[in-house]
């Protein structure tokens, strides 16, 4: 069942309203869209949404983060929301000073690569939460003096950097590694669902309006069934995503249950978003293959997101959750 209530509809509408006046575009080379980010923080307080009020946040929870992540995904925003939300919540839980993060003035990010490679938003972040799931430890690394190489990315809406962490000062913080991992995977799944949903909407609208052979192309079974398959993928993945959100929002959820659900959601949503955004290009025909059309931006994001936060042991762990002996 959906974890969302009527109140979440309001939050969703607010984000969507702000975004509509400032719509999706590719980030230019490096850096996120700073103006947009300031508006998201100042007008909606998204950076501190789930940070407790005593620590300078709005005191909401995971479900609210999920709503915003879906909207960020829908609009395909070049925004560091995902990384800073996950990292900020981890830092807050560890009792760190997160006031500037909650205001969106400092950007935090999160990574699961011990070698500092491919850190999302690593080109713009001020502080890194470095998670070692196997060792169950979480460290915080100040990025001020860290040498970084901003990468060229397939995804034009989220940067990455290789960070040279060898000389960087690190400090362990007390927060359960598995929860940080689960939250990252779950909110990423939310972004993906948002993006997939939007692609399906625009593709459906295009197929309803584009006429060839004297009929809207969406009246042809080939196109109609392709769109129907996109819908099937979307709704099945959404079930896994909403389940993970509900479990992540419940502090009583056990570690393995949360791990299984968040890995399942990420795997399901990665596949669904990749397929849907790829098929979205096909539904649009030639026009969907042009630079000016948004279709390839979603596909780029889908492809890059599918390998974000992905530990190498996904197949192994998911098989174990299916009951396969190790």
């Amino acid at each position: 069942m959906t974890p969302y209530t009527d109140e979440h509809d309001q939050l969703r509408a607010s984000v969507r309203g702000l975004v509509r006046t400032d719509r999706s575009r590719a980030r230019e080379n490096t850096g996120h869209d700073v103006t947009l980010w300031r508006r998201m923080c100042d007008e909606l307080g998204v950076a501190g949404l789930a940070i407790p009020e005593v620590q300078g946040g709005a005191g909401f929870g995971v479900v609210e983060l999920a709503v915003v992540a879906e909207e960020v995904g829908r609009a395909n925003l070049p925004s560091p929301f995902l990384t800073t939300a996950v990292a900020g919540l981890a830092l807050a839980a560890a009792g760190e000073d997160v006031g500037a993060i909650a205001r969106g003035e400092r950007l935090a990010t999160v990574s699961f690569s011990p070698d500092g490679r491919h850190v999302p938003d690593g080109d713009v972040a001020d502080v890194l939460v470095l998670v070692d799931v196997t060792g169950a430890s979480v460290e915080v690394v100040e990025l001020g003096g860290v040498p970084r190489t901003a990468l060229t990315t397939m995804d034009l809406t989220r940067g990455q950097a290789h960070l040279d962490l060898r000389g960087a000062p690190r400090r362990e913080i007390d927060v359960p590694a598995h929860r940080v991992a689960a939250l990252a995977a779950t909110l990423l799944a939310c972004e993906q669902i948002g993006g997939a949903e939007r692609v399906l909407e625009t593709s459906t609208a295009y197929a309803s309006q584009r006429v060839q052979f004297g009929r809207p192309v969406g009246s042809f079974q080939a196109v109609k069934h392709l769109l129907a398959d996109m819908l099937v993928d979307l709704e099945l993945a959404r079930s896994a995503q909403q389940h993970a959100v509900a479990l992540a929002a419940d502090t009583g959820t056990s570690a393995p249950v949360l791990d299984a659900a968040s890995r399942t959601a990420r795997a399901a949503c990665s596949r669904a978003f990749t397929r849907i955004s790829s098929d979205g290009i096909r539904v649009h025909g030639g026009i969907g293959y042009t630079w000016e059309h948004d279709a390839h931006l979603y596909f780029r994001r889908a492809r890059a997101s599918a390998v974000l936060f992905t530990p190498g042991d996904d197949a192994d762990r998911l098989a174990a959750y299916a009951g396969l002996a190790s």
């Binding site: 109609k224 099937v232 709704e235 896994a240 389940h243 399901a268 396969l324």
Partner: protein, 399 residues
């Protein structure tokens, strides 16, 4: 005063403690179908005797008159128990609600109490050899006789459990001069009436769950019309809506489950092969999605909402999952899956599953039909130009 939910739950738990059949303990639906149906009848009668049948049905027809939250509670309590839902999907899930909605007072009081007790099992005589995906193309005819009744001639097919059924809801064409979707009427049919011949139809698996039903001048009375004459398509639509609800509540899946395949892999030591681990992980993700989606829809249904066309997603997911899992089984079992020692009673399971899987993508509306339904009714895509809508039925091309 209405029984509290807590009291109701206690009564259900108590019933199941005495009469409940653990899932998997009943005679196999596919291999011992007659025994399965017999056990189902016994179980349903016990439910009725315990005052637990027809939870949301009106009291005057033998139901409990309770709200959908009681149905949800019953579903939760009976997790892990055999519900024989496949046997009763048509009668209790589809025919009953249609008679409740459209039946006369007489029909309701005459047919619903024995239906609820499984004293009478019902089937659905809709599909025909020439009218499968295109159900409204049916050609079975009902011609008025001199006594105000009707004479029915034609052939039905894919009738689940016809050979175990006492009654049926039947669609027949009463006016071929009207357009295809008009001129159809729904009737109650006594399966023991003269002229009704049931012939089991053997499937690719070797099972015979379906039947052909031949109707050779079968008489039905004037009181056997359900709803209005020539308005049967509306009744059929209501029936199919209830089918979606019933299947969303109790989805039918393949006998070869992912759990069974995983157990096989554990047994045969194929657990460390990375290719197998990856394929199992993929199947697990698919299975979780199908299950969580089914739960989402069932949640809606149990609080009384029609899942509408979204139910087609569940059906497609079930069919695709069965295909994926049975293919995985063949991968894991290797040559043993396709040739086995006759002394091994479970040797044929994987081949059975592989042969069973396609039926989930055909029965109750092919994959193609489901995708059209989703495209048009959920996404709102325009329909195809249709040649067969506004022409008298008798002038249409058929085959």
């Amino acid at each position: 005063m209405t029984e509290t939910l807590a009291d109701f739950r206690r009564r259900v738990a108590d019933f199941l403690a005495h009469h409940g059949c653990p899932a998997g303990a009943a005679p196999s639906r596919s291999r011992r179908p007659a025994d399965h149906v017999a056990a189902a009848r016994v179980h349903q009668r016990a439910l009725a005797d315990a005052g637990l049948a027809g939870i949301t049905w009106p009291v005057e027809v033998g139901g409990l008159g309770l709200g959908p939250e009681y149905r949800q509670a019953f579903a939760e309590e009976s997790a892990g128990f055999e519900t024989f839902s496949a046997v009763f999907t048509i009668g209790l899930g589809m025919c009953g609600p249609v008679l409740l909605a459209l039946g006369t007072a007489d029909q309701r009081s005459r047919y619903l109490p024995p239906l609820l007790r499984a004293d009478e099992v019902w089937c659905q005589l809709f599909s025909e050899p020439g009218a499968g995906s295109d159900l409204a193309g049916l050609t079975t005819t009902a011609v008025p006789d001199d006594d105000g009744g009707w004479r029915i001639r034609g052939q039905k097919v894919w009738t689940t459990y016809a050979h175990h059924s006492d009654r049926a809801l039947l669609l027949a064409r009463t006016d071929p001069g009207k357009a295809k979707h008009r001129g159809i009427t729904m009737f109650v049919l006594d399966m023991t009436a003269p002229g009704v011949t049931v012939r089991p139809l053997r499937q690719a698996t070797g099972d015979a769950e379906f039947n052909e039903v031949f109707l050779d001048d079968v008489r039905v009375g004037p009181d056997d019309v359900v709803g209005a004459v020539d308005e049967g398509w509306r009744a059929a639509t209501l029936m199919l809506m209830n089918e979606r609800v019933a299947l969303a509540d109790n989805p039918i899946g393949s006998p070869v489950t992912l759990d069974a395949v995983v157990a096989l892999a554990n047994r045969t030591g194929r657990t460390t092969d990375p290719v197998v681990r990856k394929a199992v992980a993929d199947a697990y993700v698919a299975q979780q999605q199908a299950e969580l989606f089914a739960r989402r829809i069932a949640g809606e249904v149990r609080v009384g909402r029609d899942p509408g066309a979204l139910a087609s997603i569940g059906k497609l997911a079930a069919g695709r999952l069965a295909t994926q899992v049975s293919a995985l089984a063949l991968e894991v079992a290797g040559p043993d899956a396709v040739a086995w020692d006759p002394a091994d009673p479970d040797g044929g399971l994987w081949a059975y599953g592989e042969l069973y899987a396609p039926s989930l993508s055909i029965a109750g509306g092919t994959e193609q039909i489901q995708r059209t339904v989703l495209g048009e009714r959920v996404l709102g895509l325009p329909r195809e130009p249709q040649a067969d809508r506004d022409v008298p039925f008798r002038e249409l091309r058929r085959g």
